[in-house]
C-alpha cells in the first residue's frame, strides 16, 4: 500500500499510534460482540427449566453484557482518539512540508503557479487525508475481523443453521461485489470527472459574469455551466436508476436472515425435537448476523477514501516535481560588485524558443544600466536572471568575478535588492513591514529610510502612525503608498546591487512623482540594472541595452543610440508621440 507508506512519513513520532488504533479497534469489535454471547447464555439458562433459573447468574451475565458493551465503546473511542492524533499530525505536517518545499523553490516557480492554486493544494489537500486515516483505516480491522469471527462462531455453534445463514451472506456479498465492481468503478470515475468539470465551469462562469452583463451574452459561459449541471444530474440519475433493483435487493437481503433461519430451524426441530437448543441458537444467530451488513457497508467507502487520500498526497508531493531548489557549490562571498553576463541563454521550461539568447554585457560597480525593448523581448527575463529567479541554460552570470552558482543564496540575497511592480506588504504594522528589510535597524535609520522613500507625509496622516496595521481595521494603503513603503524597506536593506522594474503600477500623478523621487534615493551610488518603460527616465544612464527577441540589438548611451538611428531611435519617436496624445471627441491621430 504505497499511499499508506507515504502518509506514514508525515506522522512524525506518532507512527506507532496507527497500528495501535487498528489493534484497539479490532479488539473493540470483538468486545462489542460479547454482549450477544451473554444474552445467548441468559436464554440458555432461562430455557433450562420452566420457572427455575438462577437469578444471580442472569444478573452476572447482565452486568457482563453491560461491561463488554461499554468496554467496546470505550476501546473504540480510544482507538479513534489514537487514529485522530495520527491523522491530525499528518494534516499539519503535510502542510508544513509542502510549504517548506515550495518556499525553497527558485522564484521563477511562482510565475507558473498562482498563489491561490498552490495554497489550495497545500491547504485543502492536507484535509482530505483525514477521513481515511482517522476513521476508515481503524475501522478496516473490524470490517475484516467481524465477518470472520462471526462466520466461525456461526459454523461452530450449529453448522446446520450456519449453512442456512450463508445463503443471504453469499447473495448480498455478490450483489455488493457486482455494484462495486467494474461498472461501479467506472461510474466513480465518471462521477468525479463530471463533478470537477461542473465546478470548473462554475468558476469560469462567475469570472465571466461581468462580461456577460456588459455585453448581454448569456450564451457562452452560462450555457456551458448549465450543460455541465444537467450532464451531471443526468449521469447521477441514470446511475441511481440503474442501481435501483440491486440496491433494493441488497437492503432487503441483509435484513432478512430471520426469514430463512426460522423455517430452517423448524425443519431441524422437526428432525431432532430439540426445541430449547435450536431456539437458543437461533436467537444468537439473529443477533449476530446483522453485523455482516454493517461490515460490507463500511468496506464500500474504504476504497473511495483511500483513492481520495492517495490523490491528495500525490498532488501535494508533485507540486514541485518539475523544479529543483537552487544548488550552490562553493558558498563564496561577494567582495566586488561588478556584474558580467557571458553568452547567457535561457528558455522557459516547456518551450523551445530562447527567451534570452546569447546575451553578454558587463557593468562596473556603481554603474546604471537600463534594459529596453518591446514586450516579449526578454528584458524582464534578463533582469530576473541576476537574482537567480531561474537557472540559466548556457553561459554564466558573475558578480565580482564569482559565478552565481558559487554564491550562497543568503549571500546573494544580502547583496541584491529587487524592486518589482508586484511588491506586497505583510498584514502587520507598518513598522514591522519596514523593519523586514533590516531586523537590527535603529529607529533613526528607519526614520531616515521613510523620509527618503517619501513616506512621511502619508504616515503622519494615519491615526496610529507607524503602528498602523495594514489590512486590519479597514486600513488600506493606495498602490503608490504601498510601493513607497516597499521602497523604504529596500532603502533600509541597503544592498549594493539593485534590480529594478521602473514601471509604476498605475498611480495618480502625485504618487508617481513621489515614487520617482524615492527610486532616485534608493539607487544613489548603487549598481543598478533596471527595466525601463518610460524612455524619458533613462536618458542619463551609463548604458542602455536594447533587446529584441532575446538578443541584444543595440547598446550605448542615449545619445549614442539616437545617433545610430536604429530600433531605439524609433522607440524614442513613438514615445514622444504617445505622451502628446489627448482624449477628445475629434480623433487626433
Amino acid at each position: 500500500m504505497g499511499t499508506l507508506k507515504k502518509l506514514q512519513k508525515y506522522m512524525e513520532g506518532r507512527k506507532i499510534l496507527l497500528p495501535g488504533a487498528i489493534i484497539l479497534s479490532a479488539i473493540s469489535t470483538l468486545t462489542g460482540m460479547l454482549p450477544f454471547i451473554f444474552i445467548w447464555l441468559i436464554v440458555k439458562e432461562l430455557f433450562a427449566s420452566q420457572n427455575e433459573f438462577s437469578l444471580g447468574l442472569v444478573n452476572t451475565y447482565a452486568w457482563a453484557a453491560l461491561a463488554t458493551a461499554v468496554g467496546g465503546v470505550i476501546l473504540y473511542f480510544v482507538a479513534l482518539s489514537l487514529s485522530h492524533l495520527a491523522a491530525f499530525r499528518v494534516e499539519v505536517t503535510m502542510r508544513r512540508k509542502a510549504m517548506e518545499r515550495v518556499i525553497s523553490m527558485p522564484l521563477g516557480f511562482f510565475d507558473n503557479n498562482t498563489s491561490g492554486k498552490i495554497r489550495k493544494i497545500i491547504d485543502e489537500d492536507a484535509s482530505i487525508t483525514h477521513t481515511f486515516l482517522a476513521h476508515q483505516l481503524p475501522d478496516l480491522a473490524g470490517t475484516i475481523l467481524m465477518p470472520l469471527v462471526s462466520l466461525t462462531l456461526i459454523l461452530v455453534v450449529d453448522w446446520q443453521l450456519g449453512l442456512a445463514c450463508l445463503i443471504p451472506i453469499v447473495v448480498s456479498t455478490a450483489l455488493m461485489g457486482f455494484m462495486m465492481g467494474k461498472k461501479g468503478q467506472h461510474f466513480m470515475k465518471q462521477y468525479m470527472t463530471s463533478l470537477e468539470e461542473m465546478n470548473n465551469e462554475a468558476v469560469e462562469y462567475v469570472r465571466g459574469i461581468p462580461v456577460v452583463k456588459v455585453f448581454q451574452q448569456t450564451v457562452f459561459s452560462f450555457k456551458s455551466f448549465y450543460n455541465s449541471i444537467i450532464r451531471y444530474k443526468e449521469m447521477v440519475s441514470s446511475y441511481t436508476h440503474m442501481w435501483e433493483k440491486p440496491m433494493s435487493a441488497y437492503t432487503e437481503i441483509i435484513h432478512s436472515f430471520a426469514y430463512i433461519l426460522i423455517p430452517f430451524s423448524i425443519l431441524i426441530i422437526g428432525k431432532t425435537g430439540d426445541y430449547a437448543g435450536i431456539i437458543t441458537n437461533l436467537l444468537l444467530y439473529l443477533l449476530v448476523t446483522p453485523v455482516f451488513a454493517q461490515s460490507i457497508m463500511k468496506s464500500m467507502y474504504l476504497n473511495q477514501a483511500l483513492g481520495q487520500a492517495s490523490e491528495a498526497i500525490n498532488r501535494s508531493e508533485n507540486l514541485t516535481k518539475d523544479y529543483k531548489p537552487l544548488a550552490t557549490s562553493n558558498k563564496r562571498e561577494i567582495s566586488n560588485h561588478d556584474i558580467t553576463f557571458e553568452a547567457v541563454s535561457f528558455a522557459y521550461p516547456g518551450t523551445d524558443k530562447k527567451a534570452v539568447d546569447n546575451v553578454s554585457f558587463s557593468m562596473k560597480k556603481g554603474q546604471k544600466f537600463a534594459l529596453v525593448g518591446p514586450s516579449g523581448s526578454g528584458k524582464t527575463t534578463v533582469a530576473r536572471l541576476l537574482p537567480r529567479f531561474r537557472e540559466i541554460d548556457k553561459g554564466s552570470i558573475k558578480i565580482g568575478g564569482i559565478d552565481l552558482n558559487e554564491i550562497g543564496q543568503d549571500e546573494l540575497m544580502k547583496n541584491i535588492s529587487f524592486v518589482f511592480q508586484n511588491t506586497k506588504l505583510f498584514r502587520r504594522s507598518l513598522l514591522e513591514n519596514i523593519k523586514y528589510g533590516n531586523e537590527n535597524a535603529s529607529m533613526q535609520d528607519i526614520k531616515k529610510a521613510l523620509e527618503l522613500a517619501q513616506c512621511n507625509e502619508f504616515i503622519s496622516r494615519l491615526p496610529n502612525g507607524l503602528e498602523t496595521k495594514i489590512g486590519v481595521d479597514g486600513t488600506y494603503l493606495s498602490g503608490g503608498e504601498q510601493q513607497r513603503i516597499a521602497l523604504a524597506r529596500a532603502i533600509l536593506k541597503d544592498a549594493p546591487i539593485i534590480v529594478l522594474d521602473e514601471a509604476t503600477a498605475f498611480a495618480d500623478p502625485e504618487n508617481e512623482h513621489l515614487i520617482h523621487k524615492a527610486l532616485q534615493k534608493l539607487t544613489e551610488g548603487k549598481t543598478v540594472l533596471m527595466i525601463a518603460h518610460r524612455l524619458s527616465s533613462i536618458t542619463d544612464v551609463d548604458s542602455i541595452i536594447v533587446l529584441n527577441d532575446g538578443k541584444i540589438a543595440e547598446q550605448g548611451t542615449h545619445q549614442q543610440l539616437l545617433a545610430q538611428n536604429g530600433i531605439y531611435t524609433k522607440m524614442w519617436r513613438e514615445y514622444q508621440k504617445s505622451i502628446k496624445w489627448t482624449i477628445s471627441k475629434e480623433s487626433v491621430c
Binding site: 442472569v58 453491560l66 461499554v70 511562482f110 465571466g208 423455517p263 493606495s478 500623478p509 513613438e574 482624449i583
Partner: protein, 578 residues
Amino acid sequence: MLNYIQRRLALSKKGAKDFVKGTFWTTILNIAIMFTAFYTFIFLKEYIPSIFAPDIAPAKGAGYFALLALALLVVSWIIAVIQYRSTFSTIYDESANRRLNLAEKLRKLPLAFFGEKNLSDLTSTIMADSTDLEHTFSHAVPQLFASIIGVILIAIGMISYNWQLGLALFWVVPVATLILVISKKKQGRGNKNIYEKKREVTQEIQEGLETIQEIKSYNNEAKYMAGLSKKLDDYEKNLIKGELLTGVFVNGAQSVLKLGLATVIIAGASLYAAGKVDLFTYLIFLVLGAKVFDPVNEVFNNLAALFYLDIRINRVREMENLPIQSGTTEFNPTNYNIEFRNVIFSYDNDNQVIQGINFVANQGEVTALVGPSGGGKTTAAKLAARFWDIDSGEILIGGQDISKIDPETLLKHFSVVFQDVTLFNASILDNIRIGRQDATDHQVIEAAKLAQCDEFVSQLHDGYKTIIGENGDTLSGGERQRISIARALLKDAPIILLDEATASLDVENETKIQRGISELIRNKTVLVIAHRMRTVSNADQVVVLKDGKIVESGRPQELRSRDGVFAKMVNRQLAEVI
C-alpha cells in the same frame, strides 16, 4: 410544516415535498425491516411453550412460516424500491435546481460585486456545499428522521405492551439526548475555535505565497516557517481538544444507550422470577434491547456531519439573500446625457465615498474625471452604469432614473473599457464577437484592426481562430486591452466608460492602443477616468474629485489658469515627463 422544512433546510417547494416523502418512505422501510422482529415474535409465541412441553407440537409448521416470510419479503421489497426512488432519484433534481438558481442569482448581483477577489472562491465553496448537501440529503437526513420516528414508535408500542420492561429499556433515550443537547452547545464553541485557527493557518500560507519575493529577498525563509509552524501547532492543539470533546460526548451518549440493555435484563429477570411477566415477553425485550438502538447509534456517528449541515445551509442561504438589482426593461432615452444629482454613496454605510456630487456629462462630449487616488473618480464612473446602487440622490440618463432600469437593459447602452479584462477559453474571434453576437467575421476583424489587434493576432499560429486558454492566459496585458477595445468598438454603444490607464498599461504599444481608443470614443458620451493630465487637455469638461467631493469643474484651459488642484497636478506632471 412544509414551509418550515423548506426554510430550515433551504429547499425549494418541490424539494421540501420530496424530502417529506423521502423521510416518510424511509420510516416505512425501517418499519418493514422491523417485520423480521414481529415475524420472530410470532415464531417464539408459537414455539416457546414446546420448550418445556416437547410433546405438544406447535400448530404452525415450516410451511406456514416459509409462506409468511415470502409474503413479508414481497411487501418489503416493494417498500424498499419505493424508498429508494423517493430519496435517491429526487434529490438530484433538487440539487440541480439549487445550482441553477445559484447561477441565476449570481448573474443578478450588482456588477461591482465581481470586482471582489474571493468570489470565485465563494462559488467553489458553494458548489462543494451543494454536493455535500446532496449526499447528506440522500443518505443521512432522511435516515435521521426515520430513525427518530422509528424509535419513538417502537418505544410507544413496547411501553404499552409492558410498561415496566418498556421503561427499563427506554429510559436511556432521554438521558442520551440530553447529553447531546448539552454537547452541541459546547461543541459550538470548540468548532468556532478550530475554524478560526484553521483560517489563521490558511491566511498565513496565502500570505507567505503572496510575499514570497520579499521573504526570499530578505533571507527570511526560516523565520517564516517558524511562524507557520507555530500556527499549525496551535491549530493541531485546538483540533485535538475539539475532537476529543465531541468524542467524549458522543461515546458517553452511546454508552448510556448500552445501559438500557443491562437494566432490561436485570429488571426482566426479577419480574420473570416473580411471575409478573412470561418468558415470551421477556425474550422479546431481550432481543429488542440488543438491537433497537442500532439506528440511533448510526445517527450519533454521523452527528458531526449533521451539525455541520447547518453551516452549509447557512452559507447557501446567505448567498440566496444577497440583494439583487432589478428594474424595468423599458429604456428608450431621447438622448444620452448623464446627470448626477446630489449623489451620495458608501460601500458599507460608514464611509461616504461619494459625498453629494452634481455634474452633467453631455452626449457627444468627453468628460474627464480626475483627482488623487481614493478621491472617488472610479467609483463615480461605475455608478453611472449602476455597478452599485447609490444611497441617495439620482443618476439620470436621458432624463430617466437609472435605479429603476434593469441593469442588463441599461448596460446595453454602455461600452466599458477598464483595466481588468475577462477573456474566455475560446478563439480570439469569438472573444471579440462577445461585443456583438450577430456580427459577421468580417465585422469582427474590422473592429480588431481598428483596435490594433491585427499585428499580434497575425503572429499566432491559428490567427483569429487561435484558442487563447483559460482567461486568455497566453496573452500579454496590452494584447488583452486591445481585445477589450475591439469588443467595445464592435458593440458601438452610445456611452463609453473608459479608464485611461488602459491606454498606458502596455507602454510598448501605447500609441497603438491610443489610436484604438480615439476611434472608439468618437462622437459618444464619454466618461473617462483620467490619470495623465496632458491627456485630458482637449476634453470638453474636467471634473476634479477629491475626498468624494467635486472641488473644481470646467474646461481644462479654464482650470489650468485657476491655480487650483487641477493646475497643480498638471504642473507636477509636466515637470515629471521629460
